[in-house]
């Protein structure tokens, strides 16, 4: 039986990247329904943003007051999106305090815990935003065509790209703050939390 003393003191070992990746994947796979709901929340917000943005791009001649109204709509859609995403990610971190405490007891570093949540957020954010962007842009390209406007493929792709980037950034930002906070908690405090 060897102890840390015989291993030559305290070294800084972090597990390889795939350990965090597997943990994130397992967490998504096992809580699939829960995570699908989170992801569809992101998708809805992003779909709203993508559809407003598509309409804006499709409209050729715009009156000034129309333009400012569209800007308002886009801003609103982004706020809606942010609130929804923050809420879901906050929930998904806080309901797992106990798991975080346990993993800390097993020797996970704070950065490992944050890494797992980061990867989960990137995965959920990408899937959710991509679905939302495709649906929003696709649907409203059709709507635009019926109402006299038109959207070229590069335009549509750039809207989708922008929406996905915004979606992923928002999801990650919303997950990281509570994850960092949870990771820094003393393990005993994280284990005590009852949800």
């Amino acid at each position: 039986m060897s102890s840390s003393g015989e291993r030559g003191g305290f070294q800084n070992v972090d597990p390889p990247f795939w350990v965090a990746w597997n943990q994130a994947l397992a967490s998504i796979r096992v809580r699939f329904l829960r995570q699908a709901i989170t992801s569809s929340g992101i998708a809805l917000g992003i779909a709203f943003f993508a559809s407003v943005e598509t309409l804006r791009v499709a409209t050729k001649t715009v009156a000034p007051e129309e333009a400012s109204r569209t800007q308002w709509l886009i801003a609103t859609s982004l706020v809606m999106c942010l609130v929804g995403v923050t809420n879901s990610m906050l929930m998904s971190v806080t309901e797992r305090y106990r798991e975080i405490g346990t993993i800390k007891c097993l020797g996970a570093s704070d950065s490992f815990i944050v890494k797992v949540f980061f990867l989960e957020a990137v995965l959920l954010g990408t899937v959710g935003s991509l679905v939302g962007a495709l649906v929003g842009t696709g649907l409203f390209s059709l709507v635009a065509r019926f109402s006299g406007g038109s959207v070229t493929l590069p335009q549509a792709l750039s809207v989708i790209g922008l929406a996905v980037v915004i979606g992923v950034v928002m999801t990650v930002a919303a997950a990281i703050a509570p994850a960092v906070q949870a990771a820094k908690m003393p393990a005993a405090a994280a284990l005590r939390v009852e949800i």
Binding site: S3, S4, P16, V19, Q23, E99, C105, L106, G107, A187
Partner: protein, 247 residues
């Protein structure tokens, strides 16, 4: 109480057995001012390598707080904890993580397995944190599961196992990196009598065979029969140390 025992006597005992955990005037307060609760009020003790120690005390006695302190799960308000002669208050979060990974194994009343992982993955996770290769981790993980009698259920997730089986997985997991100390917080608290007895026997067996120090917070009187020593904690102080090893 050895605190009051003659110094010479204590010295002999320490030479005979290595001290693995030592606390000095350990105290923990929660809250501030008038509302302050003194959960732990100056506990000094020595825990020897290879012993089976039970910590007894009613709810609210400071037993769990003491347990959390010596496990590096919480920071003391005052005093210090030395694990293998290292003052754990001086460690950075990363060094503390290393200590938890290599030197201490944890067992909880509520098992606390990672629900999204299989039994084997639960056992191998601490090894991966320690930098063991996946193949070696799997091999060692299977051996540990066989040791606790669950080799055949390695691919089951915690939700598919009974309470006793989950606690066995947790015991296997606590031994993953061959720790010097296993801390068990009421390991039989959520189990029926027979299963609880099995878990106690298993812990005692691992204690004798692997020479791992077992420190267990408990209410369970069955636990006392197998203990070498019993610490009685009351109102935040170490009220009595009972030596049962017959030495």
């Amino acid at each position: 109480m050895p605190n009051t025992a003659p110094a010479a006597h204590r010295k002999i005992e320490r030479n005979a057995r290595d001290v693995v955990v030592r606390t000095k005037d350990l105290a923990k307060h929660y809250g501030e001012g008038e509302a302050q609760v003194r959960a732990l009020n100056g506990v000094s003790c020595e825990i020897y390598s290879g012993e089976y120690l039970s910590i007894m005390g009613p709810s609210g006695s400071g037993k769990s707080t003491f347990f959390n302190m010596i496990g590096g799960l919480d920071k003391p308000s005052d005093g210090s904890v030395f694990v293998n002669s290292v003052d754990i208050a001086q460690l950075t979060p990363r060094e503390l993580a290393f200590l938890r990974c290599h030197t201490i194994g944890y067992i909880f009343q509520t098992f606390n397995l990672i629900t999204v992982r299989t039994a084997l993955e639960n056992v191998t996770l601490p090894m991966l944190f320690a930098g063991v290769t996946p193949d070696e981790a799997e091999e060692r993980g299977m051996k540990l599961l066989e040791t606790v009698g669950l080799g055949h259920r390695y691919h089951h997730r915690p939700s598919e196992l009974s309470g006793g089986q989950q606690q066995r997985v947790a015991i296997a997991r606590s031994l993953a990196n061959s720790p010097a100390i296993v801390l068990a917080d009421e390991p039989t608290g959520n189990l029926d009598l027979r299963t609880g007895q099995e878990i106690i026997d298993l812990l005692r067996r691992l204690n004798t065979e692997n020479n791992v120090t077992i420190i267990s917070a408990t209410h369970d009187h069955k636990m006392l029969d197998v203990s070498d020593r019993v610490f009685h904690i009351r109102d935040g102080v170490l009220a009595e140390i009972e030596d049962k090893s017959g030495a």
